[in-house]
């Protein structure tokens, strides 16, 4: 079995008296797509926030390629390869679609501290941004301000920005939520395409069971902040506790 790319060790955070993530220990291996399921409020988004650093951990560790990153600022974790797309769309609203993606590529190329060249003169960055926009089929909207995009297209752009970042760890938080039935497959195909690169690991919070069945190599279940189940999809889905507690409910959502 390949080595773990990302590990969490007893990772926990408490908000006041409420323990939102409760000592979760879990390994994520390269070449694996892990679906994270659990009811609303289970702590899935907070678990992501702890891994990417938006929320500081109360206890425990996050390790990337065996090295601890628990105390590093968000941007530094991103630079080391922890990439994140957000459940609530989180873009640069006043800037164009193209500029949103271009900024990500520029970050990846470590060009931000260049004060005296013209941003648009870096053809390799602009071309890479165009290429990503073509892949997510947003290139015809590239000049539009993000604030004028439909919800579905904003969700697509959210995913496009994570793909543009080219991280080692992809974290998608309900990427297709609120998308129409014909938009969602585009995004899911993109995520499926990322599995071809076996040096990365993908974490996907998703409610739709059919999606999980086709994409996931493994499922973990969070319940009240604790890791309630972990294993191959068929096994986890069949387990009694999961069947009763979550799958029944989740299936109704579909």
């Amino acid at each position: 079995m390949t080595a773990s790319l990302l590990q969490t060790r007893d990772l926990a955070v408490r908000f006041g008296g409420h323990v939102a993530v409760d000592h979760v220990t879990c390994d994520f291996r390269a070449g694996e797509l892990t679906a994270i399921v659990g009811p609303n409020g289970a702590g899935k988004t907070t678990y992501f926030n702890l891994i990417s650093g938006q929320v500081p951990a109360s206890a425990g560790k996050v390790l990337l390629k065996g090295r601890e990153v628990t105390r590093l600022p968000v941007a530094e974790r991103t630079r080391r390869g922890i990439g994140r797309a957000f459940q609530l769309t989180n873009l640069f609203p006043g800037l164009s679609v193209f500029e949103n993606v271009r900024l990500v590529i520029q970050a990846r190329c470590h060009r931000g501290f260049d004060l005296f060249s013209m941003a648009m003169s870096h053809a390799e960055i602009s071309e890479a941004a165009q290429e990503i926009l073509a892949r997510v089929r947003l290139w015809d909207l590239s000049g539009q301000p993000v604030s004028e995009l439909s919800h579905g297209n904003q969700r697509k752009l959210e995913v496009a920005m994570l793909i543009a970042l080219d991280p080692k760890v992809y974290m998608f938080d309900e990427p297709t939520a609120g998308m129409s039935v014909d938009e969602a497959p585009v995004v899911l195909d993109l995520i499926a395409g990322l599995k071809d690169d076996v040096t990365r690991t993908i974490l996907l919070v998703e409610h739709k069971m059919d999606v999980i069945r086709t994409l996931a190599d493994r499922i973990i279940v969070l319940h009240n902040g604790t890791l309630a189940a972990d294993g191959p999809p068929a096994e986890v889905m069949a387990s009694d506790v999961v069947q009763e507690a979550y799958m029944g409910k989740a299936l109704e959502d579909v």
Binding site: Q54, T78, L103, L115, F116, A119, M120
Partner: protein, 351 residues
């Protein structure tokens, strides 16, 4: 060529381009078009304030940072030149040294304020800049032995930059070719060049990150930009540009005092100029500074003339009394913000 000079960020609107061209030509030819001490003085002030307001736009309009310390940085450049000229004696070396020292002091202060307070909430940064700027202003008026206190400092600049130095015996187009004229073109050329540098910076990869931070600092951090460093560098660049504007102003005026460089009133003027002109456009600084300074200088005169002309009409002469010019400026400000929320430049670009 022009595109590169403007960093690919042209006016993008014909009326805006025409207005900018007109302002540029008027300033470039001011000594010949508007001879007379007062009008050339106004033109020089416009040049300096365009640079000052543009440097403020870098932080406020592009990075979304609210600072009240901009006049402090402006003052550092001005006092740098004044102190060097006072203590080292009249000379170009004093001007250069004073300018560099002022810019360095501004950069160090900006760095300290930035690293200390930019990681926390924006309002906290604004308060810190206000506190530091007030403290510095008080200090400058208290340390009168060094700074001249409220009276400020008068000093001499190299003769080559004063009216005493004649370069041609005969006037050209009715204008004496002397050191004062050279001084004007020094101010004009330096302001123009530095404005173009600022325009380049806001269109650089760095400038784009500032806009990203303004739009959504949380996401900027999440894609790998250390927001606090970018904000700090932006504050430093802006402070240095303001200090250089201050040095030019000091070279032009041959006098510095709290009222000409450090006062809170100037800070408010800068805010008005950037908002009237249009934030986050750079060109707004050109329009805002020009309009504001012209209004400041000539509105009073115009109103005085109008009040005299309307003598006998009830109420109106009182309203148009020159002492009420600030009131009218306030009315103009409210109207312009109401009708052009994106400023004049934004409006002309159809935003």
């Amino acid at each position: 060529m022009l595109t590169r000079l403007l960093s690919g960020d042209g006016p993008r609107s014909l009326p805006l381009a025409l207005i900018l061209l007109a302002i540029f030509l008027c300033l470039a030819l001011a000594p010949f078009l508007f001879p007379g001490t007062r009008s050339v003085d106004t033109a020089a002030r416009i040049c300096v304030f365009i640079l000052l307001v543009a440097s403020y736009d870098l932080t406020l309009g592009y990075a979304g940072i609210v600072s009240f310390a901009h006049t402090m940085f402006f003052g550092m450049g001005a006092y740098g030149v004044a102190l060097a000229s006072t203590h080292l004696g009249r000379g170009f070396d004093a001007l250069v040294l004073g300018t560099l020292a002022g810019a360095l002091a501004a950069a160090v202060f900006a760095l300290l304020i930035g690293l200390f307070s930019l990681r926390v909430r924006a309002i906290f940064f604004a308060m810190i800049t206000l506190a530091v700027a007030s403290a510095v202003a008080v200090l400058v008026s208290q340390l009168s032995g060094l700074t001249g206190g409220e009276d400020g400092l008068n000093y001499q600049i190299p003769r080559a930059l004063t009216a005493a130095q004649k370069y041609l015996d005969e006037p050209v187009l009715g204008v004496r070719i002397n050191g004062k004229l050279l001084n004007y073109y020094l101010v004009f050329a330096a302001s123009t060049a530095l404005f173009l540098v600022l325009l380049r910076i806001v269109n650089s990869p760095f400038g784009r990150v500032l806009q990203a931070i303004r739009e959504n600092d949380f996401r900027a951090e999440a894609i790998g930009y250390r927001v606090v460093y970018y904000r700090t560098i932006a504050t430093c660049v802006s402070a240095v540009a303001a200090a250089l504007a201050g040095s030019l102003y000091a070279i032009w005026l041959r006098y510095v005092g709290p009222d000409t460089t450090l006062s809170f009133e100037i800070m408010v003027d800068i805010l008005l100029m950037v908002v009237i002109g249009g934030m986050g456009t750079m060109y707004g600084a050109v329009i805002g500074a020009t309009l504001f300074i012209l209004a400041q200088n000539y509105l009073q005169g115009l109103m005085g003339a109008a009040a005299a002309g309307l003598e006998g009409v009830p109420l109106l002469p009182g309203l148009l009394d020159p002492d009420r010019w600030l009131l009218w400026l306030g009315v103009l400000f409210v109207l312009s913000v109401y009708f052009f929320p994106t400023g004049i430049a934004g409006r002309l670009r159809g935003e």
